[in-house]
């Protein structure tokens, strides 16, 4: 049993107290006994002395009456034989000096001989009057008896009583101590041992309990132990339920102290998410922002926040929540896991503990990105016009132009400089460094990768001495790298042009105000000189720009009619005069919808006819003098000529005529072609139709004088 410093057992305390009490009582008893013994001795001596004095007084009365000194002296001399008589003297009545004394050198002569008994420590003086038989005072007598024997007897008795009291006290103390140990100390020690085991979490009960106060204490202890066990069970059950709740949450919950060291509490999802990295006492900074791949500034910001948040009181913690990081990215193999972070002061704590709730939002972010991607796709469908407005294409064109210029300078620099110098390395380094960052902005992975390789190589050669191997190797790498970069930039431009709805025209475009162009056309567009032609070209728009959204639109319209079509545009770079361009988009949309509604067969029908499942519609544009000729051709069934008035194709232009019996969303009642012709006529353009039954139909738009308006229908056999 471990005992604290200054510990004194109850048994020892009880023994000392009991011994002291018994000793005190024994001493009191002994004192009383010896006092009584002494009184008894002195009283006996006093009685004996009184009787002796009485006898002496009676015996010397006649001699004193006759003043017979010898007889008096003889009587006194008889006392000398009594060893208890110390001295004696006789006085005549009224005399001051004694008539006779037992010891010549005795002290009684000066003592008072007045009748009475006087007890001192060493002797007893007994004085008495001597009277005649008739009662006449004759004198007085004084006898002094010794107390020496009595005093010696009292001292012996005291010693005897003292030792007896001591022995008795020790015996009583021992007996009482034994009883106390058995009835109190041992049961208390058993309780104390049980309490210690209880504090260690053992389920213990005190046994062999007696029916006394200590036994009641044992019962109380056992009841207390049971209550503690029941409470622990309830706490365990509550904790289990709470842990169950935490484990079902899709949040990783961990708790850390003010220094950022993780504690034991965590949810199961936290264990799954963080794994071994989240060991007890691990750093929350390293967990969320690992030094290997997290930017240093994010680690620094979190550490700074932790330094403040870990030291503030709970009521001021909320002020710091906005300064905590909101998001962290954990590397999981080749992908990132994105966590949304929320920090709270741990409930009920005042020692700076903080709880982190981390929600895995990777899927949510992916969904958002997917939604963004879809949105971007949708935006792309809006076509080239929107991109031109946004100016994004022009930024890329500027990048290509700028990169080519700088590459040209870099190549010249390399060619003229002879051996590569430190200054040359620095210039080349800056060039590839900038090119790498720019190409990353446009997702030009190959350019970025090649630039990075060159950048790393140049970084290694930056401090190499002139003419050394690293500089020679770097020069060779630059020569081949620059050539490859030129190729990659050309490839990027080709891909950009290919994906542009207006072809190479995209490389020449600049953003200008439409209002300014309109104003120019208004003022000088009617002129037939060089200025008029320049303004006409300036206001013209590439055919590809006017048709950029039609392919997607056509696919959507066909889908609604349960058909499939493919739109092919040729002549994208041909410039369409402004007066035609402003009407052409609507006209082409009309013609496309008509072709899908009336010409293109259903996929099943086309397959039965031996045609591809998707219908093909060609939009082509050719320059024609001051204008353009446009052809819309489909490989559908051709016009149903028999359905038109007069049984010829010209009937297709009549308002209200249609090959359909009812109107629908796509083709309407057939007012389109007539309306198209009327609209184009206003700008001097004519419309002509060609149709081959079962093979397809064409609509031709061209300036009057070049295209003959009309309609021709042929059968397959005559085509």
């Amino acid at each position: 049993m471990r005992e604290a410093k200054g510990f004194v057992s109850v048994a020892s305390r009880m023994a000392v107290v009991i011994f002291a009490l018994v000793a005190a009582v024994s001493a009191a008893v002994a004192f009383e006994l010896t006092r009584r013994e002494e009184s008894h001795y002195i009283e006996s001596k006093r009685l004996a002395g009184s009787m002796l004095t009485e006898l002496l007084a009676d015996s010397i009365a006649p001699a004193l009456d006759f003043a017979d000194a010898e007889a008096i002296h003889a009587s006194l001399a008889m006392l000398a034989k009594n060893r208890d008589v110390v001295d004696a003297a006789v006085w005549a009545a009224g005399g001051r000096e004694p008539l006779s004394r037992l010891r010549e050198n005795g002290s009684v002569a000066s003592a008072s001989h007045e009748p009475g008994i006087r007890v001192t420590r060493d002797h007893i003086d007994i004085a008495r009057l001597v009277k005649s038989p008739v009662g006449k005072p004759l004198g007085s007598v004084l006898v002094r008896v010794s107390l020496a024997e009595e005093r010696a007897a009292v001292v012996a008795a005291k010693k005897r009583i003292f030792w007896l009291a001591c022995a008795l006290s020790a015996l009583v103390a021992a007996l009482l101590t034994a009883v106390v140990r058995r009835t109190i100390i041992s049961p208390l020690a058993a309780l104390e041992r049980a309490a210690r085991r209880l504090t260690r979490g053992e389920l213990i009960e005190v046994e062999n309990i007696r029916l006394d106060e200590v036994g009641s204490l044992g019962h109380t202890f056992n009841n207390m132990g049971r209550a503690i066990r029941e409470r622990e069970q309830r706490i365990y059950d509550v904790n289990t339920r709470l842990q169950g709740l935490l484990d079902t949450m899709r949040q990783a919950i961990v708790v850390f102290d003010g220094d950022g060291r993780l504690e034991r509490e965590r949810s199961r999802f936290a264990e799954q998410l963080f794994g071994d990295a989240a060991g007890v006492k691990s750093s929350i900074v390293d967990l969320l922002f690992p030094a290997e791949h997290a930017p240093g500034v994010e680690r620094e910001a979190f550490r700074a926040w932790l330094g403040v948040a870990g030291a503030v009181s709970r009521d001021r913690f909320d002020e710091l929540v906005d300064l905590a990081p909101k998001e962290a990215r954990l590397r999981r193999g080749d992908s990132d896991c994105i966590l949304e972070l929320e920090f709270r002061a741990a409930a009920g704590d005042t020692d700076g503990r903080i709880m982190l709730l981390a929600t895995d939002v990777t899927s949510q972010r992916r969904l958002e990105r997917t939604a963004e991607t879809r949105e971007r796709e949708h935006q792309k469908q809006l076509g080239a016009m929107r991109r031109l407005v946004a100016g994004g294409g022009q930024v890329f064109v500027r990048f290509l132009s700028s990169a080519r210029d700088r590459l040209g300078r870099a190549v010249r620099d390399l060619g003229n400089a002879g051996p590569l110098t430190q200054e040359g390395v620095e210039r080349a380094f800056r060039f590839v460094h900038t090119l790498r960052a720019e190409s990353r902005s446009f997702d030009l992975g190959a350019v970025e990768e090649l630039s990075l390789g060159l950048e790393l190589e140049l970084a290694g050669a930056r401090h190499a001495p002139p003419g050394s191997a690293p500089l020679v190797v770097a020069r060779k790498s630059l020569e081949s790298g620059y050539a490859e970069l030129r190729t990659l930039l050309d490839d990027a431009e080709a891909l950009f042009v290919e994906s542009s709805p207006i072809g190479r025209r995209v490389l020449e475009q600049v953003t200008v105000s439409r209002g300014d162009i309109d104003e120019l056309v208004k003022r000088y567009g009617a002129r037939h000189d060089e200025l008029g032609r320049l303004i006409s070209r300036l206001s013209a728009r590439p055919f590809g720009e006017l048709t950029s959204t039609l392919a997607e639109d056509a696919a959507r319209w066909a889908g609604k009619a349960h058909k499939r079509v493919e739109v092919v545009v040729t002549g994208r770079e041909v410039l369409v005069p402004a007066r035609v361009a402003e009407r052409l988009s609507g006209v082409l949309a009309h013609l496309l919808r008509n072709a899908i509604a009336h010409g293109i067969e259903s996929e099943e029908r086309r397959l039965e006819l031996g045609k591809p499942g998707a219908g093909r519609i060609e939009l082509s544009c050719l320059e024609s003098g001051d204008g353009v000729e446009i052809r819309v051709h489909d490989d559908g069934a051709g016009f149903d000529v028999d359905a038109f008035a007069g049984g010829n194709l010209e009937g297709a232009f009549e308002a209200g005529r249609s090959t359909r019996k009812t109107a629908d969303e796509l083709g309407g009642f057939g007012v389109g072609l007539g309306a198209v012709r009327d609209e184009l006529k206003e700008i001097g353009y004519l419309v002509s139709l060609r149709s081959q039954s079962g093979i397809g139909a064409s609509v031709l738009l061209g300036p009057a004088g070049r295209a003959a308006e009309g309609a021709w229908s042929t059968s397959p056999s005559s085509s």
């Binding site: 930017p295 240093g296 500034v297 910001a301 700074a304 300064l323 500027r398 990353r440 902005s441």
Partner: protein, 132 residues
């Protein structure tokens, strides 16, 4: 938007500047960009954060920082200066030159957004400590 932090970005590439400006403005910051290193200090008024490229023609990022620090020496509110680079070799030089920190992963716009937010949080925590 008056109380939104103003961020100044200095880079010799207009392309990069446009990308950074567009991305940071999406986050609600007010962004001022400049490709001109000479006289760029006039943009610093009211700025909370300045992001500087290291490899620029004529002046290095360290030179630009030095001129900026001279310009704001008497200003009561000094912006935080961060180097933006993907070149690990210049980080140590940047620290020595007096940059408050370094933004890495140049070209990764999402990472830049997180780093800018972290740098602004550090500045706020420092201001809070000073006022306390």
């Amino acid at each position: 938007m008056v109380d939104q932090p103003v961020i100044v970005v200095v880079d010799d590439s207009e392309i990069i500047l446009e990308r950074i400006k567009a991305r940071l403005e999406m986050e609600g910051y007010r962004v001022v960009t400049t490709a001109q290193t000479v006289g760029a200090a006039r943009h610093l008024k009211g700025a909370s954060l300045v992001i500087i490229d290291w490899h620029m023609p004529g002046m290095s990022g360290g030179d630009v920082l030095e001129s900026f620090q001279r310009a704001v020496a008497s200003s009561p509110k000094r912006p935080a200066f961060y180097l933006y680079t993907s070149d690990p070799t210049v980080s140590a030089a940047a620290k020595k030159a007096g940059f408050d920190g370094t933004f890495v992963n140049k070209g990764d716009d999402e990472s830049l957004v997180q780093q800018v937010a972290a740098a602004l949080r550090i500045a706020k925590l420092k201001a809070r400590a000073t006022s306390a």
